[in-house]
Assembly symmetry: C2
Homo-oligomer: 334 residues x 2
């Protein structure tokens, strides 16, 4: 563990999320339709569906993923001090996940499950327009529970970052709320990403309560924030979220992002990308840049610019984690 | 299995090789030196060294590899009819290997080992100059033996393609020689890739005998062919190999390739590449393009141009298998 700082923290950010290995393959639009997949969304599938779908998937590559885990990897790549809490099984893919996150210097000590389902996998279908369609088998991730949340770790981080997807596995919700309680008890901040519009649909009432009652920093894209408040325009969603959280960071793909804090508003352009290859991880890496900036005393606009630059890196190649050290790429902004 | 053709074959090429999953990570030159790795070479490591080295490796991505398997994947991607023989374990990485090769339509029925070491892994360190350094743990691949070579399969393929690396695991050598015997008994061709100059050093005497006595089509890069004949120049190696095999395809990276058949000689330029990202698989994919051309009645120069184009695709991205369908990319040459 890192040395304690004057405010008693050892970490900039601790993330809690589903520990997932991504399986990425290119797919034509027609193939998605033939497989009956909901393009652009994250859908939960069971072990049997995962088998069937994998058998019909093209040749693939494997890389560590998971929404909050990608964000934590990004903050670590920027030079931030981070920890992660998530559940893998003690199998080959679990070891891959553990290796990749630790290789970035992330503190990751959640014990692997020694029985039960295999490490979670997300089958990622990338269409020629660089959009990704996610089919997730949660596997061992459903085993994450309150006992995996070390209060000392939460208390030692400036920000506890949670992914909305954690609302899907049954016991993670408790872990999530326990973490919020500890964080606020220690005077730390809680950040949440809404993850996916369908995820918002599944848990709308609870998410609204959560946002209003427990969340300090909210990340959402346009579709997610509109789904949360059931409104038909981005501006209506913006009005709805004002005052509900301390900071809202709302992303809009190529249209950039909008940042809100009290009466402060910033509209940040997206960083141009020569060729968008795979949008997997765009939101996760935006959050990484933003949270790195925030925990390093940058102003809100600078945080947004860092988020945009990190998102631009990850959509320029296959996979949801940075290919090159973000500290190097972002040096002009740091 | 594919339909039998008028010559009694069902496959263009059957490959026999080590069934390996690649683990790819970027590494600085200094890191290679600190780890004591022989840059650019393929080194065999044991299970413990694989653990130690993996622990010191950066975040990685996993993709199916194996020299002959990459070649077979490339031929399949060009639209060729192919089969593969190689040994995995019945573990997660073994299933990844099987999935990826079958997803390309390759016939792959070698039973997985149900006990013993795990599926083979190759730790690939990619330096900023796009060179790759390979550290291979053979694992279950050492279990490949004569009993895995189905004579009907060898007899059903126009060409049996073998990787020199097969000389490393103890029992594969027998399988290799058995396959040569069956192929020639059925009037088919045997192709060999020398794989690596260090591999040639390990098995020089046997390789010379093999080339002179059993091989019809030889693939070698400049370093390998010079190592085979222990000569100091490419031209001396070229003179040495003349007359030893029916066809020699000698590759020279950016300098292109030289093709020999009796008195026929062709010097083929390399296909220019905008940005070389990772040279892993360059030789494997050259062989793929060449063998696809040869088994589809193209002249020698056309085979060489196909090889160059396929090699150019694979060095433009991470990983040793084509990212986009080669049949599309090579359409102007097909």
């Amino acid at each position: 563990m890192a040395e304690a700082r004057s405010d008693g923290t050892r970490f900039d950010v601790v993330g809690i999320g589903n520990a997932i290995v991504d399986v990425l393959a290119h797919a034509e639009e027609a193939a998605l339709a033939a497989l009956g997949l909901a393009k652009g969304a994250m859908t939960l599938i069971d072990a049997r569906e995962a088998e069937t779908l994998y058998a019909r998937m093209g040749p693939a590559i494997e890389c560590s993923g998971g929404s909050a885990a990608n964000t934590i990897a990004g903050i670590a790549s920027l030079g931030g001090s981070t920890a992660f809490i998530g559940k893998v099984r003690d199998d080959q893919l679990g070891r891959v996940f553990r290796h990749d996150i630790r290789a970035l210097g992330v503190h990751f000590e959640t014990p692997a499950a020694t029985s039960g389902p295999a490490t979670a996998r997300c089958l990622v279908f990338i269409t020629p327009d660089a959009q990704r369609t996610l089919e997730t088998y949660l596997g061992a991730a459903v085993e994450l529970g309150r006992e995996d949340v070390d209060p000392a770790l939460i208390g030692a981080a400036k920000v506890t970052y949670l992914e909305g997807y954690l609302w899907d596995p049954p016991r993670a919700k408790e872990a999530f709320l326990a973490a919020c309680e500890v964080a606020h008890g220690e005077g730390r901040k809680v950040a949440l990403s809404l993850s996916d519009p369908f995820c918002v649909d599944r848990h709308r009432a609870e998410f609204r309560e959560l946002v209003a009652g427990h969340v300090d920093i909210l990340f959402a894209n346009e579709q997610e924030i509109m789904a949360l408040y059931e409104v038909a325009s981005f501006d209506a969603a913006l009005q709805a979220v004002r005052g509900k959280v301390e900071i809202a960071a709302l992303t809009r793909s190529a249209k950039g992002s909008v940042l809100l804090r009290d009466n402060e508003v910033h509209v940040i352009d997206a960083t141009p990308v020569a060729r968008v290859v795979d949008t997997t991880g765009a939101g996760d890496l935006y959050a990484a840049g933003f949270l790195y900036g925030l925990t390093h005393g940058r102003n809100l606009a600078a945080c947004g610019r860092l988020g945009s630059l990190c998102a631009a890196e990850v959509i320029g190649h296959l996979g949801a984690r940075p290919e090159r050290p973000l500290a190097e790429l972002c040096a002009p902004l740091l």
